[in-house]
């Protein structure tokens, strides 16, 4: 009897304990309050299709939804405005079943017609609401679409020109989120500053270069956000922004100086959220120009540069060493890659074998200001120059203005130049195909790298939709390109977001967009 009682008690305890933890995990946040997030620069447009700027995208993802979305903190896809989808076997047709009963913030019903309208106004120059000089992302995000049709009120069908496996990921990008067709008609050219979506927050006002205010969407299909109000404010100076965070006048900020990391970590009222970012910084070695036509020289360049020191000291620990072109957290990253550890002796012997035992001279191009994949700007070039000189390579640094730099980089006027890439949609295709497909010479293949095997693998990986098969192909590509070393693979930046300790449930997304739907304030 006693034993039975004991067992019952034990079972009860376990049940309670488990129940308790489950309850603790699903702890509901507090409703209410205003959260202020400080950016370094103002948004340029709040129509998802009219911008490529991160500061705009951060606002957009809170006001709009896409057909699908990224699962919190990942690049995996989950339903959003579409509840389910089917992909035809040939990979050419995507049929989305849309969520019923959703309304845009202006009361316009969300349906297949709205989707068709929003896609067509970007792709068809004859569409009455096509805007000249706009839609900078349309070619990238939607260019593969041949036709989009409304099958019935809640079913929409996309037909692609060629199979394109990353298509679903494109549909989760901020740039393909759906805008209210009635708002487009109502505001015309001014739609860029009157955003009307289906998202967790509604737009209230935008004071240029100062702030953008959003308020909670009470009727959000995925549940009302915890916050009543969300303000994006602009504070251009990194130091001023951090002071405001320390004073408690803002809650979350972007853009931390490497030298301020310690200060944030030592402050009890602040918390530094960190996660690996989906980006890569590299030097493109022009494979059609001597001496970089020689694989051994390219490998020697990779061995000669001490990337551990660069990421640890020059970049203040804000970055990790890149072993290849893909960031380690992206799906299909090849764990077996060893990359090029710092080994100046090996670099020298490779140069010897290549017939450059006495070293060589070349021009190394750089931009001046820091960028999101390089927090130190042109100082990175100086460091690289120093390492190269130790193995007898003489790099002459040439600094260009950013617009010209990119233009000439696309045209291949450099011998070697610093570049970087930030993921658009979290698909490996968005790195590997961008960098290494020979078709992309003249735009994003800045090493002018040509390898028929790589081209074949990349194109095959675009055409099949089975993820396991794609993964194998991408791993093969990584092995080949790391061996061929068309780049000097340098670094991946971490995402670092300082927040006040009152900010709860803030999740960093690999795409680096700032989502506030599930965030609450401890008041």
């Amino acid at each position: 009897m006693l034993r039975r009682l004991l067992i019952i008690l034990l079972v009860l305890t376990v049940v309670l304990a488990v129940g308790g933890t489950v309850m603790a995990d699903s702890h509901e946040g507090e409703y209410g309050g205003t959260l202020i997030y400080a950016q370094g620069a103002d948004a340029d447009a709040l129509d998802p299709h009219m911008t490529t700027l991160g500061n705009s995208a951060d606002v957009i993802v809170n006001v709009f939804d896409g057909l699908v979305r990224f699962k919190a903190g990942t690049t995996e896809i989950e339903p959003a405005l579409a509840t389910s989808w089917e992909i035809s076997d040939d990979g050419l047709e995507y049929v989305f079943n849309l969520r019923e009963g959703v309304e845009f913030h202006d009361g316009t019903p969300f349906n297949a017609e709205a989707v068709v309208f929003d896609i067509e106004r970007q792709l068809n120059p004859d569409h009455p609401y096509y805007l000249e000089g706009s839609f900078p992302y349309a070619g990238f995000s939607l260019g593969m679409i041949e036709e989009v049709t409304a099958v019935d009120e809640y079913t929409v069908k996309f037909t692609l020109e060629d199979p394109y496996a990353p298509f679903l990921k494109n549909m989760a990008m901020f740039a393909t989120m759906i805008v209210s067709p009635e708002a487009v008609k109502k505001y015309g050219e001014d739609i860029f500053k009157n955003p009307v979506g289906t998202g967790a927050f509604k737009f209230v006002e935008w004071v240029r270069d100062d702030h953008i205010t959003l308020e909670a969407n009470e009727d959000y299909w995925d549940g009302r956000p915890y916050l009543d109000e969300l303000i994006f404010t602009v504070i251009p100076n990194n130091q001023t922004r951090l002071l405001e965070l320390e004073e408690g006048n803002i809650h979350v900020m972007e853009g931390l100086n490497p030298t301020d990391i310690k200060r944030v970590k030592e402050n009890d009222e602040l918390e530094l959220l960190e996660a690996p970012g989906l980006n890569v910084g590299y030097i493109a070695l022009h494979n059609e120009k001597e001496p970089f036509g020689n694989k051994k020289v390219r490998q020697a360049m990779n061995y000669a540069i001490n990337k551990e020191e660069i990421t640890e000291y020059l970049m203040g620990g804000q970055a990790t060493v890149a072993k290849g072109p893909l960031p380690p957290t992206i799906w299909s990253y090849d764990e077996s890659l060893e990359g090029y550890p710092y080994d100046p002796e090996k670099a020298k012997s490779l140069l010897e074998e290549a017939g450059y035992g006495d070293g060589f001279e070349f021009t190394l191009r750089t931009y001046s200001a820091p960028r999101s994949y390089n927090p130190v700007g042109a100082r990175l070039a100086t460091a690289v120059q120093q390492y190269l000189s130790e193995v007898g390579i003489d790099a002459e640094i040439e600094q260009l203005e950013w617009g010209t730099y990119i233009e000439e980089g696309k045209a291949g006027k450099h011998t070697a130049a610093f570049f970087g890439w930030i993921a658009d949609n979290g698909d490996p295709d968005n790195f590997l195909n961008v960098f290494f497909n020979s078709d992309n010479r003249g735009s994003t293949n800045r090493a002018f790298y040509v390898n028929e095997e790589v081209d074949r693998l990349l194109e095959e990986a675009q055409q099949i939709t089975d993820e396991d098969e794609r993964e194998e192909l991408y791993k093969e590509v990584q092995q080949i390109v790391v061996e061929d070393a068309p780049f000097v693979f340098l670094n991946h930046m971490k995402m670092q977001i300082p927040v006040r300790d009152s900010v709860e449930n803030y999740v960093l997304y690999p795409t680096n967009n700032k989502y506030f739907h599930k965030v609450w304030l401890d008041q």
Partner: protein
């Protein structure tokens, strides 16, 4: 007098035309294409080519200039390339912030600068004089950026007396009418907003005032010294006027005439200082508009902002010249 003013205003037209030519061709000379900068690494080549064509950048430069000019004559400054707002809207939106800042800053500069200049002239070679002049030298030499950060650290962060950044508390509820926040808060009788606006102005205004304070103090000192040696001052003293009267009535009015010129000229440097001050203190003004325009090669915004600033500068100078004839009856314009 009236015909003089009219003539000066008419001179504005060829002047602005010249400015528009210089600005237009200069910004097209600096390397960098707005569409490339806008898209950066992203966007396909087709996107770049399409947007360039749609914005008219593939036309020859002189054709682009004439279309800019013909729009300008009709009062249309075009739309920003980066955010599609009409340039005139962008300027209307940012100018009031800069004017509020400039006026308060000039007020500080005059009060502090003139007082310091007169005191050090009267007490020439005293400790006060030496300290003031060293201070003035420091004021001219110290970077505006650094002064701003220091004031912010001391009065904003350490002492917590004044707000650090922005034009008004981020939680303030002010109905914007004219975009001059002081005027708006008075119109809507929102006294908390007024208080917040003024508090937010003090640190940036002091920062922006440092260089003009120094210039005004030095100028006031030297002109005061000059006036103090004039015969009519000796006469005034000889006839037994109290020293206070001598200074206020005879010295000050005459010493201030050249100072007015300095003040007028300093308005120009205010706009330069505003670029830095507005960046440090996160104020949405015309300095930030201009710097963002330049960084993004947003040609219509740069052209528009420069033309408006130039007109403003010319008008201030005209005003100073008119003020001159009022202060110094020896000067006549015809």
């Amino acid at each position: 007098m009236f015909s003089y003013i009219l003539r000066r205003i008419l001179i504005l037209i060829p002047l602005l035309l010249a400015i528009s030519i210089v600005v237009f061709f200069m910004i097209h000379l600096i390397p960098g294409d707005p569409v490339q900068i806008m898209l950066g690494n992203k966007g396909t080549e087709e996107d770049v080519a399409r947007i360039r064509a749609e914005l008219g950048f593939d036309e020859p430069l002189h054709i682009q200039y004439f279309s800019f000019l013909s729009n300008l004559v009709r009062g249309d400054l075009g739309r920003s390339i980066r955010n599609r707002n009409p340039v005139i809207y962008e300027i209307k939106n940012s100018f009031p912030a800069t004017i509020e800042l400039t006026i308060l800053s000039m007020f500080f500069a005059c009060i502090i600068g003139i007082t310091a200049g007169i005191v050090s002239a009267i007490k020439q070679y005293s400790i006060i004089d030496n300290l003031t002049m060293v201070g003035a030298l420091l004021g001219i030499s110290m970077p505006v950026f650094w002064i701003g950060m220091m004031l912010m650290l001391i009065f904003g962060s350490e002492l917590g007396w004044l707000p650090i950044s922005g034009r008004i508390s981020r939680l303030a509820d002010l109905k914007v009418i004219t975009n001059f926040y002081i005027i708006d808060s008075i119109i809507s009788q929102n006294w908390t907003a007024l208080q917040s606006t003024i508090a937010h102005l003090i640190l940036p205004a002091l920062t922006l005032a440092t260089i003009p304070v120094a210039m005004i103090a030095r100028m006031t000192r030297s002109t005061t010294l000059e006036v103090l040696n004039q015969d009519y001052i000796r006469t005034a003293r000889a006839k037994g006027l109290p020293e206070k009267m001598v200074i206020l009535k005879h010295v000050l009015k005459n010493a201030l005439i050249p100072v007015v010129t300095i003040i007028g000229l300093q308005f120009g440097s205010f706009l330069g200082g505003a670029v830095l001050t507005e960046t440090v203190f996160a104020r949405a003004g015309v300095g930030r508009l201009l710097i963002n325009g330049i960084l993004g090669r947003d040609f219509p915004v740069i052209q528009g902002a420069v033309i408006v600033i130039a007109s403003f500068f010319v008008l201030i100078n005209l005003f100073v010249d008119i003020l001159y004839s009022y202060l110094d009856p020896r000067i006549h314009y015809s």
